[in-house]
């Protein structure tokens, strides 16, 4: 589903060049739940942003469903983000003066769905995250965990094939974090591929695969083995 070949990313300023990603090769198959782990500044978020086409790359190639995203127009990238990818950000990124319903509706609006179709998808997503009763609330009226569930609802309402989550529990307490993780697992079980950046080893263990990044290089792209982890 996702294939990265020799992908590199360099951040340049007037004085220095920082190699955020070096010659990354990665294959992610449909339905996987992969955790991206590594120390701060290792390139996890950069990789996630490139996978989400929020950021460009300098060399190598990125194939999504067998098609390269390199050189795609702004309109094509927007369409790709809108139809295939869902985002979950650490800081939720909800629009504060939009209701929960309106926030979830955003990506569906840009897909050009009719009002009835939008409503049906939003209600399904709200049911899934358990916030149907709060559809008219503003984000500020919800707890952090609830806000992240709204962000998840927004991400899945478009029925994306890939969910990219950048430290989705980073701003939540352990109880809330566990609820969000359970929700992500539930979504993954329904067939959605998930790539999640996390610093939390427990959460990384809950993902089916752990991809470690150190200094912009992929160190271990193997499937995570829960039995081996238990024996250790």
């Amino acid at each position: 589903m996702i294939t990265l070949t020799n992908l590199s990313k360099i951040f340049r300023t007037e004085l220095i060049e920082t190699h955020a990603l070096r010659e990354v090769n990665l294959q992610v198959n449909e339905g996987e739940f992969a955790a991206l782990t590594g120390p701060s500044g290792s390139g996890k978020s950069t990789l996630l942003n490139i996978l989400g086409t929020l950021e460009s790359f300098d060399s190598g190639d990125y194939l999504l469903d067998g098609k390269s995203v390199k050189g795609l127009s702004d309109a094509a990238l927007s369409k790709l983000r809108n139809e295939k990818i869902g985002f979950i950000f650490q800081s939720f990124n909800l629009i504060k003066d939009f209701s929960i319903y309106d926030n979830i509706e955003l990506p569906l609006r840009y897909r050009g769905l009719k009002a009835s179709a939008r409503k049906q998808r939003i209600e399904q997503a709200l049911e899934l995250v358990g916030l149907h009763a709060r559809r008219d609330y503003l984000p500020g009226q919800l707890s952090g965990g609830q806000q992240q569930r709204v962000a998840i609802a927004r991400a899945i309402a478009g029925q994306p094939r890939i969910l990219l989550a950048d430290e989705p529990t980073g701003n939540l307490d352990s109880l809330m974090a566990r609820q969000v993780m359970e929700l992500l697992e539930q979504i993954n079980q329904q067939g959605c591929t998930i790539l999640m950046v996390t610093h939390d080893p427990d959460q990384a263990r809950r993902a089916g695969r752990n991809i470690q990044i150190i200094d912009g290089q992929l160190h271990d792209a193997t499937m995570y083995d829960p039995l081996a982890a238990q024996s250790a």
């Binding site: 929020l54 309109a75 927007s78 369409k79 809108n82 950000f89 955003l106 990506p107 840009y110 478009g158």
Partner: protein, 432 residues
């Protein structure tokens, strides 16, 4: 449509987030545009063509036929009766009318208080040449003297309390005259037929009298006259037609280029004949000025309005710059939301549609503010420059042009900031 209503809703939310900067942007734009509107109104009206379908067919002929030597002189801008007679001795022109204006008093009977009136003393073709509408009665059948006047509708209503007064008797400076026709409401703006006297910004005259009757009644011009001898022209009826009293304006209608060329040749021949007869010693200098060029020829453009036009244009540019700056700040503070929308799948084209909704709202508020400011500006300019007060109205083409300018300014003020906000690193902006 549903999506565009959504964009409008989002625009309103954007305004509610930061109402003060938005109000300030609207205020600055409204003031700049309002001041520009006020001046543009006068500029447009003063430079408008009241007869666009024939302003290139009506001509003001002038010939240097003065009885003294004058080289490099312009021909007099008024003509003598005898010169008019000579210029009329051809059938090249489709129509022709000589005219001048005078002051008089009008009343129904000797017992009534006299009403001061402005009289246009002219010939029958005046009315068809300048498209003057007739409400009641008919125009004089020829150019001979007759004790008949044509009233404007306003004069008829002022004197009789009604408009249909054809056949009614009046006293014009205590001479008996009959009303032969009443004009419908008519105001030629600017009155280009009077531009040689620089009276083109004034009101139309109150009554119309045949030229021959004007001379018979000894009416002297109230605007411009020249003479080259010592004759007492107060006795216009006996001296005016043959002497060198120059007070007449003369207009001819030349419909085709061939007619215009033929008339120029006719004027050339006439002046050569006059010179050969020893009636004027100067080098010939004939002018045939088209109506659309007449104000420029006589230097009648309002320099005040021109200067104001330049100042208001500069002021508008300053306002646009300031409004753009405010707008940029507003958009940059909303850049996070732009980026979020892009991350969630909005293309730049879709964001530009959002911007169009912003422009529409801004244009709506700006137009309202600008029209109010413009209206106030016009009232102020009417106080400062009362001679231009007739040129302070808005007609549909002007209003539509002003609305288009306001929309374009709103677009300009929004375009650059929104483009700035919709470009840049998505990832970086989402982190901020």
């Amino acid at each position: 449509m549903e999506q565009f209503i959504y964009y409008l809703k989002v625009s309103f939310k954007g305004i509610k987030r930061a109402p003060l900067p938005y109000a300030l942007t609207i205020f600055i734009l409204s003031v700049g545009l309002g001041v520009f509107f006020a001046n543009a109104t006068f500029y447009y009206q003063l430079n408008s063509d009241p007869l666009p379908h024939k302003s290139d067919k009506l001509f003001f002929p002038m010939a240097l036929m003065a009885p003294y030597e004058c080289n490099d002189c312009k021909p007099p801008s008024v003509l003598s009766y005898s010169n008019i007679e000579k210029l009329s001795q051809t059938d090249i022109a489709s129509k022709a009318a000589a005219m001048y204006s005078a002051d008089g008093y009008l009343r129904q009977s000797a017992e009534q208080a006299p009403l001061p009136v402005s009289i246009r003393i002219t010939q029958r073709d005046f009315f068809s040449m300048f498209d003057v509408p007739i409400l009641h009665g008919s125009i004089w059948p020829d150019n001979s003297a007759r004790a008949e006047v044509i009233l404007t509708k306003a004069s008829a209503e002022k004197l009789f309390g009604r408009a249909d007064v054809v056949g009614e008797k009046l006293l014009l400076d205590d001479r008996h005259v009959t009303v032969s026709a009443v004009l419908d409401s008519w105001q030629m703006l600017p009155r280009l037929y009077d531009a040689n006297n620089r009276n083109h910004l004034g009101d139309a005259d109150d009554i119309y009298l045949p030229l021959e009757s004007g001379y018979d009644m000894n009416y002297l011009s109230n605007s411009q006259s020249q003479t080259f001898d010592d004759t007492d022209y107060r006795q216009l009826s006996t001296q005016g037609r043959s002497g060198a009293m120059h007070q007449l304006q003369y207009w001819v209608q030349l419909d085709t280029p061939a007619q215009q060329q033929a008339y120029r040749q006719f004027m050339h021949n006439l002046v050569q004949d006059e010179k050969a007869a020893g009636r004027h010693p100067s080098e010939p200098n004939n002018q045939l000025v088209a109506m659309r060029d007449i104000v420029h020829y006589f230097g009648g453009e309002s320099s005040d309005i021109k200067a104001f036009a330049l100042v208001t244009l500069l002021f508008l540019l300053v306002c646009l710059f300031n409004a753009s700056h405010l707008s940029l700040n507003r958009y940059l503070s909303n850049q996070y939301e732009f980026s979020l929308r892009r991350a969630l799948g909005a293309s730049r084209a879709q964001l530009q549609l959002q911007m169009l909704a912003d422009v529409l709202l801004m244009a709506l508020f700006t137009i309202l503010g600008a029209l109010l400011t413009g209206y106030a500006g016009i009232k102020l300019m009417n106080q400062l420059l009362p001679s231009n007060r007739l040129f302070s109205s808005w007609d549909m083409p002007l209003l539509l042009s002003l609305l288009a300018i306001a929309f374009a300014c709103s677009y300009l003020v929004t375009l650059y900031p929104s483009l700035r906000a919709s470009f840049g690193s998505l990832n970086q902006q989402l982190k901020e």
